[in-house]
Subunit: 298 residues, 2 copies
Amino acid sequence: MKKILIIGCGLLGSSLLRAIQKKKLAKKIFIYEKSKLNIKKIKKLKLPGIIVNKLKEGVINSDLIIFCTPMSEYKNLILKINNFVLPKTLITDIGSAKIESTKIIKKYLKKGIHWTQGHPIAGSEVSGPEQGKVNMFLDRWCILIKEKNTNKSHLNILNKFWKKLGSKVVVMTSEKHDKIFSITSHLPHLIAYNLVKTAQDFEKYQSYDFIKFSAGGLRDFTRIAASNEIMWRDIFFNNKTNISKAIDLFVKNLSAFKKDINLKSNKLILKKLVQTKKVRKKIIRLKQDIDKPDFGRS
Amino acid sequence: MKKILIIGCGLLGSSLLRAIQKKKLAKKIFIYEKSKLNIKKIKKLKLPGIIVNKLKEGVINSDLIIFCTPMSEYKNLILKINNFVLPKTLITDIGSAKIESTKIIKKYLKKGIHWTQGHPIAGSEVSGPEQGKVNMFLDRWCILIKEKNTNKSHLNILNKFWKKLGSKVVVMTSEKHDKIFSITSHLPHLIAYNLVKTAQDFEKYQSYDFIKFSAGGLRDFTRIAASNEIMWRDIFFNNKTNISKAIDLFVKNLSAFKKDINLKSNKLILKKLVQTKKVRKKIIRLKQDIDKPDFGRS
């Protein structure tokens, strides 16, 4: 890759910027960022890369375009770049849900142009280019999406690209991706948001000042529930079918849990509380554990 | 306090042992522990304190008795100590739910003997005396329970005792305690267990090996869901009324969340995702935040 355009330079876009420069993966990096505040921050931080005012300037001069915006912006950006994007250009993204994006890309992207989707499993509850980290993708999984019409040459290039950034690459379909991440990421985030909402409702009904006692569990859910709302709205909307199924399974299990608690069903409860430890053991066995929980954000 | 008996020397009992010795709060510390494995560990670790084989020996020689066993063992232990406990003796505990314990104590503890309940907000997902830490209670909240018939002199002594261990003491009723902790601790733990159970069920239906992708959220829930099963069974059973109400509120909110996602209700979702950030801001304002989430376990 000689020239790379990063569209959207927030937490992940700016981390890519830093990592690409460190690993010397591009001769030139262009940045297209619509937020004036973010542009100000990028300049102040003296991040590498040339800020382009017009999308066209970045697109026609780049071999690789990486979409790092919220997924809800893909459609409008596609309609714009259709006017000048060249067939040789590789397009990819870092979005967290894939089935809906596949539909958008198929429907709106100009024929003859390929977009190979990606999803690095990295992030944080904080946002903005000032929060980006050069090592954001080091030793992280990066999922690349392969469908029937995927350009295999582009897939190979992206595979090497992410490996050079230190990521472990796995290739799968968008359908499989969205099912897996509905359980390992989307439901956990939704549950965290919902738990904090429930605590807020409880606060309304009671006059207790109880948040100061949140160290016993609630506190760490509030960290996830502080994640970027636009990004998570887009994920919830884009993977709604799988997430709905996951919610149904979760609620079914929770109702059974409640019943067992109310009936003081000793054996059933103990079986549940013991069995869940197995997942943790598996995570430790897979060397996916870290010293302290950080919700995948260290 | 001259002599202290710790009944049950696991994670918290052994932490108390270490902290009491460090702060020189007792001339003698007795340990009553029924697990032979734990006794072996205590001896190997050369923890301070005299291991007593008979409960009577520890009880009649101590000014302060601290129950550090699962709450389900209180009744049997009370029935035993009733035979020899002296009225001057101060009894307390570290249990995480209080209304049911109050009933057990009221029903079974010999008349004229006082038990003043305590709950240090500290712990870990690991168990056993080898996991205890001398600073377990430093800068932590410790709740002391005050009811109509509470011995005020004992309450004062315990207040000073926990402050000397470095804790911040708050006094409240068992009713208030159980309501607060049903939201700040019990529901979050139950939700974590239930989320991991749901992931396991999902694994059964699918043939995907998805646990390795757990860094996006699930992983850190598995940590909480690896906590001691006996302790958590007891908490769930002992605070079942409040926890049931919390579950109902949680499910109601989750159903609304699901509906908003399926209808792609932009404004409603964004409102929710933004509002939950307020709780986090409050936690930071109250200086209850830490560098990394640790579920109250650092």
